[in-house]
Symmetry: C2
Subunit: 187 residues, 2 copies
């Protein structure tokens, strides 16, 4: 079996983390993998903050939850149902409890920077899985609230926060559609 | 060494393809890997068209180049310089010459669909590298021109076109910044 298929199959979103500390080298390796991704005009418009400091984590959690309260007050339809099903709420304890927060920034005013950064996050998720580390790709509902309380590299914006650690619970992977249902072939 | 790091290091963008046919099974495997990616509210808002038909490829090339002509007429600054350096122009022969075009669609009106689709493309690029296949992630400058001449799944939009095949030339990988320059650590 392809190694990438094995990793992709195995990898699942985790929102509860063990308190076991994470080897910083592993985070650097995951960033190294992400940094090899292609990007629009090779701008490599990504930057990463590795947050180990408990005070900064708490601040990020508080600013994130403020935005989530507003969001959860207005979300509706299928999305609301999915959030209820998954017992998700405005509360984001993993932003405080995960051993590491990896904050991902995208550069403004370069071509395809959102696309490039998320492509690089795709690389990173497979690397983290190979390293035995779990995560969830969390984007605050109101990124500005978080940008106001952390250091943002000049000319960049917050794109995602990845809490990283060993999985601290047994969550099952969400089901996936069959490949055949995703594809149409034109011969 | 991590397998993901090895694949990410080795993988480079290719715009010239050998005429050797590509095993359709391999494309399906790459799609299977992509389909394992996480997505906003697990919507899996991605669909893929595998184009083997030469007439459809030519039509896609023509519609794409029409948009590129307008774009190349107005691009300026660093981006223009990069395009000149790389000898890129409005001409996109790989859209006609690559053995396979994989057209990637993103679902409208679901949360974080652009982000999710590009994350899945990240998974796919590592899978293609493992399968010995090369590609470039091409987004037409004017996606509507291409959407007008191909079948677009209802409720989806064109996000990218990946010409896929074995590499047909010796291009070197664009340099990458060092990991240390990408990261700031908060202890």
């Amino acid at each position: 079996m392809l190694r990438t298929l094995e990793l992709a199959h195995r990898r699942k979103t985790v929102r509860r983390f063990s308190q076991e500390p994470v080897d910083l080298n592993k985070i650097m390796q995951a960033v190294e993998v992400a940094g090899e991704a292609p990007s629009g005009a090779n701008y490599q418009g990504w930057r990463f903050s590795i947050i180990l400091n408990p005070n900064i984590k708490r601040t990020i959690r508080e600013a994130s939850e403020e935005g989530e309260k507003a969001f959860y007050g207005k979300v509706s339809g299928d999305w609301k149902e999915w959030l209820n099903d998954k017992k998700l709420s405005h509360s984001k304890p993993y932003l405080e409890n995960a051993p590491v927060l990896l904050v991902v920034f995208a550069r403004n005013d370069v071509p395809y920077s959102t696309e490039s950064v998320w492509l690089a996050i795709g690389y990173m998720l497979l690397a983290l899985e190979e390293l035995g580390l779990a995560t969830v790709t969390y984007t605050p509902s109101d990124t500005r609230l978080v940008e106001n309380v952390i250091e943002v590299p000049e000319g960049y914006r917050l794109e995602a926060i990845l809490p990283i650690g060993r999985s601290g619970g047994d969550t099952s992977k969400q089901p996936r559609e069959s490949v055949d249902s995703l594809v149409k072939i034109y011969r």
